[in-house]
Symmetry: C2
Subunit: 129 residues, 2 copies
DNA sequence: GATACTGCTATCCCAAAGGATACCGGTATC
DNA sequence: GATACCGGTATCCTTTGGGATAGCAGTATC
């Protein structure tokens, strides 16, 4: 329906589309939110596990991102009465609503890197991981 | 393939997925890039038209975002020899690679707002447009 | 004792993104 | 003259995102 080849949206539809995209970005924007959700697709994880899996994130930033994602209903924090205390984070059913978003970004990121390799522009417009 | 219900990705696949999502976010992250591309789905536009259509963006930010999108190959800036000079911005064929990304975000943003209305949490986690 | 684990928090800092405002020169209109 | 159009740019500022580092208490292991 948003495809440019077949059906140019009217200005009203375009405005509504922009609003919806902005709603999504408001919730999902930033360096770490979606990568964090992707790492939890593997199953529930503990704080340090997540940190290792995301490689370069500081505890402070991780803590803040987890809180926001919890607040928005994407993940659940579970506390277990062990020594030391252990806490797991796992995705909620609502996080499944993001599957298409994540898949489209993953797929696009993959093809974009290939596109750049083909055009030899890799160094200037992609980040190291 | 990234769906959680059917096929939990292995850690290696997960790492590759995170990397691909991060590539995409590196290029597309921020408040204005995708809304800007959405507004050009309507067809080529001039600077002031884009500004009006995006509503709250300053000329400075718009100029910067347009430059970056042009640099990344998503749009083309055309200069016409009129009085005063007129310049249009239009999407390139490469921008079509973003169609699924944009559509998934639009669709998600739409359902998320509905989800929040249903749960009466609109005020706290969505932005005004 | 030291070091490691746990999941954070506090402090300080920098970088980046974004906003507010004023302005440019050339032309057109009143 | 004033104001508007055009597409920006310059300056100053605020806000947000993220990073670096140190530290907490309780427990376990050497």
């Amino acid at each position: 329906m948003i495809s440019k080849n077949q059906d140019i949206p009217t200005p009203e539809v375009c405005t509504a589309n922009i609003a919806a995209v902005r709603d999504a970005l408001y919730v999902l924007n930033g360096k770490w939110k979606l990568p964090l959700i992707v790492t939890l697709l593997n199953g529930a994880k503990r704080f340090k596990e997540i940190q290792r899996s995301l490689n370069e994130i500081t505890p402070k930033v991780l803590s803040k991102e987890l809180k926001e994602l919890e607040l928005n209903g994407f993940l659940e924090r579970k506390v277990f009465n062990t020594f030391p205390v252990s806490i797991t984070y796992e995705l909620t059913p609502y996080s499944e609503s993001l599957d298409e978003v994540i898949e489209s970004l993953r797929s696009w990121g993959e093809q974009h890197r290939k596109h750049l390799v083909k055009g030899r522009r890799l160094e200037s417009v992609l980040q190291d991981h």
